[in-house]
Amino acid sequence: MASRIARLWQPGAPQTRSLLPDFWMAVVRSSTVGRARLPANCVKFEVDPRMSKHDVREYLEKVYQAPVRSVRTEVQMGEILWNSKTDYQYKKAMWKEEDKKYAYVFMEKNYKFVFPMELTFSESEEVREIEKHKEQMEKIGENSKFVNSDRGTVGRLLS
């Protein structure tokens, strides 16, 4: 679906036009433990809030030839920022985040989904920052390594 109108053509301008669709889908990482964990044949997407289950299915089948079997959607309400308790009481919000729509797409049974960024994620900026932080934390505790905690019979209770 493309709801945008092409720019009015002016004489001399090129005739090529590209109309991008309004609908978009993005693969979202899901937790690997606990109740948010997904089966191997399920992929979680964040999708355009206007997309229906049918749209999600058609998108994946037509564009990527994915073996979609069923789609479930979830709308997550955006957070509301309140200034004070009174504002909350009278429902006068400062700001509300946009609602988000997620689609849980169940592929055919023996399908195994691997997160596409899994391979490149380890090299990302974020990971490097975390590694650096860990190294620094180890350096802080450096002295405790040289403390002699084995003090023989000193401090042991008589039996």
């Binding site: 937790s31 690997t32 433990v33 606990g34 109740r35 964990r37 044949n41 079997r69 069923s70 169940f106 055919e108 049974k109 975390i130």
Partner: protein, 648 residues
């Protein structure tokens, strides 16, 4: 406490099968031995550890890792075992066992309703959040709503499933299949050609009920014991159970941490039975069977006892544990209800799978092999759920709860069908204590189910004839129905002629009577809405006599006032238009006029319509009154053109 759902359930006769679980025979090694003896007094299968009353401050979950070495060195005895939970379990079991009234006992373990506690009643004020209603359970739908639920269903009912191998349970059965085949063929044809059903689901249910009737009819001479059993149509049952524990027992992993923990300490507290605290792993299955054969006594157990202990389950468990991702099972209540009646045992359950084929081909868009596999899987899953719900309900109506486990296996047979493909299954409920998972409480038993199928009833319908590829179907179906009588074989044979047997089935004759009713109804409608016009007009209306040769015959019709979209109700419109159409067309056919004049006010709402609507009304008018042999002259009136209010 008031528990309306259990009203009317009466304590039933205890069942006395030959194989009985002996509670003392269940050892720590998990070997259960079958003992043939009179029923033992109700005992619980509990380890001695449960006899120790734990200290009052022992928690049921280890809430933290040791903070210092002393805690590691001098472990509290109460923390070494699950004794706190086990003690709770045992105490509850004792209380349950002390209640002799079954209704009271089930009400005692029922998690459905709970009166608000004194503190909740006393201290709640209007500005507090409302008291959240007690627990809600996940309902298993009538037919699986997802395509790979089999493992999940197996896990939540602790059932081991095997495909095939059913023939060995039905050896040496010689059945009169010829009558049954003829009856089946006739009722199948009648069912497929009938237009009396509102939906395909109704059609399937009716077909299954009729097939059961046919089987009983063809068997009743050979097995007069059938008369002691009862067919129930559209029987309902409901089972509620909890498999698994609390949401706070789920695994939890902090961002970028390797360690997986549980947030047991400092998690949010909810009061009472708040559904946010517990509920994601509570299940309910409200099952409606197309038909079932019920009996006062249960069936003999069909599967060997070695099959019901954990040899098979251990194999399954690794795979199935993954279905809930982090199942920590806590002991909780189970309860169920069935319609109160004397015939408590479901000997044969016939379940309709209507809607499943559409779901597979249209909703999940599966084709070929995948569709076949999914159909089998979904049928198996449904068999697991139906068997578990029905057997649990039977067990509960006999006073067995998860605190005092069943003392003998309960068995039922199932036939599942979407109207064309049939699946046959035998299920056995070996344990109710499926939701107790404690170190000191070994419960090696699991429930089991064997299923075989699909057997297509016919491959296709060709020129009104059913084309079969497989011959064995009729036999298979009859085997199952014949098995109904097996458990009462020892009872003294009765002198049961077919007339007497038929009298035992008043439902059957009532159904035959009801079948003639639609035909009568159709005849009445046809007379009143069609034929009566010809008779009335033909007898009473004719042209004036004494006219010259070949007169010019004219109809004058006026003010038809065809109802419109805004003021007319569709029923009124249908009735009026049909009457006008029939009377006009009948008169025209009988009296043969050359011209018909329509003198205005054709439509009721012509003055309010735009071009589109007017065209629609005009088409309708044409449909009702036009004919090639009669010329029409149509004049508009004030209702057609809109001078209605101007002239007034």
């Amino acid at each position: 406490m008031n528990f309306p759902m259990h009203r009317g359930i009466r304590p039933a006769a205890r069942l006395i099968p030959s194989v009985r679980f002996s509670s003392t025979a269940v050892t720590e090694t998990g070997v259960a031995v079958s003992v043939v003896e009179p029923p033992p007094p109700p005992t619980t299968t509990l380890h001695d550890a449960a006899k120790i009353k734990p200290a009052f401050n022992r928690k049921v979950h280890r809430i933290h890792t040791s903070k210092h070495m002393l805690q590691d060195e001098f472990l509290n005895a109460g923390d070494l075992t699950d004794s706190a939970r086990l003690y709770d379990y045992k105490r509850t079991g004792e209380i349950a066992a002390s209640l002799t009234n079954i209704v009271e006992r089930i009400a005692f373990v029922s998690p459905y309703e709970r009166p608000w506690t004194a503190a909740e009643r006393t201290w709640r004020r209007d500005w507090h959040p409302a008291l959240v209603a007690p627990r809600k359970a996940w309902a298993l739908p009538a037919v699986p709503a997802h395509f790979d639920v089999l493992n999940f269903y197996k896990y939540i009912t602790k059932t081991h499933v095997e495909q095939g191998k059913l023939d060995e349970l039905y050896k040496d059965l010689h059945l009169p299949t010829r009558t049954f085949k003829e009856l089946t063929r006739a009722s199948l044809r009648a069912n497929l050609e009938s237009t009396a059903f509102d939906s395909e689901a109704d059609r399937t249910s009716a077909l299954l009920a009729t097939l059961l009737d046919d089987a009983v009819l063809s068997l009743v001479k050979a097995r007069p014991q059938l008369a002691e059993q009862r067919i129930s149509y559209k029987s309902k049952s409901e089972a509620f159970w909890v498999r698994g524990g609390f949401s706070f027992l789920y695994d939890h992993q902090e961002f970028n941490e390797v360690e997986v923990t549980q947030k047991i300490w400092n998690n949010q507290k909810y009061t009472g039975d708040d559904r946010r605290k517990l509920g994601e792993l509570a299940f309910v299955h409200r099952d409606e069977l197309a038909a079932s054969v019920r009996s006062v006594k249960g069936l003999e157990p069909m599967m060997r006892e070695s099959e019901s202990t954990d040899v098979f389950w251990k194999l399954d468990e690794g795979k199935l544990k993954d279905e809930l991702y982090s199942p920590r099972v806590a002991n909780r209540e189970m309860c169920s209800r069935v319609e109160a009646e004397s015939h408590q045992h479901t000997v044969l359950a016939v379940k309709s799978l209507a809607g499943l084929p559409e779901r597979i081909t249209e909703h999940w868009r599966m084709r070929g092999e995948e569709a076949k596999e999914t159909a089998l899987e979904c049928a198996t899953a449904q068999a697991v759920a139906t068997a578990f719900a029905n057997l649990t309900a039977t067990a509960h109506t006999q006073g067995f709860t998860q605190y005092n486990d069943v003392d003998a296996p309960l068995t039922t047979q199932l036939v599942l069908s979407d109207g064309r493909n049939f699946y046959f299954a035998v299920a056995q409920l070996n344990t109710l204590a499926i939701n107790v998972e404690l170190k000191d409480f070994p419960n090696p038993r699991h429930n089991s189910l064997r299923i075989e199928g699909p057997f297509p009833l016919y491959d296709e319908v060709n020129d009104g004839r059913f084309v079969y590829e497989r011959k064995e179907f009729g036999l298979a179906l009859l085997e199952y129905y014949s098995e109904l009588g097996r458990d009462v074989d020892e009872a003294p044979m009765r002198d049961a002629s077919s007339t007497v047997s038929m009298m035992k089935w008043p439902l059957q004759s009532l159904r035959n009577l009801l079948l003639t009713f639609p035909i009568l109804l159709v005849a009445i409608v046809f007379w009143n809405e069609y034929l009566v016009y010809y008779v009335k007009i033909g007898l009473t209306c004719r042209w004036p006599e004494g006219a010259e040769e070949d007169p010019f015959r004219v109809f004058m019709v006026s003010d038809t006032h065809l109802l419109g979209r805004f003021r007319g109700h569709w029923v009124d419109k249908l009735k009026r238009e049909w009457q006008m159409h029939r009377s006009y067309q009948t008169a025209r056919q009988l009296l043969q006029p050359e011209v018909a004049f329509f003198l205005g006010d054709l439509f009721d709402e012509g003055q309010w319509s735009n071009n589109f609507l007017l065209a629609e009304y005009a088409d309708r008018f044409e449909d009702l009154f036009s004919c090639e042999s009669t010329k029409m002259v149509v004049l508009p009136g004030n209702h057609d053109l809109g001078f209605h209010y101007a002239s007034a």
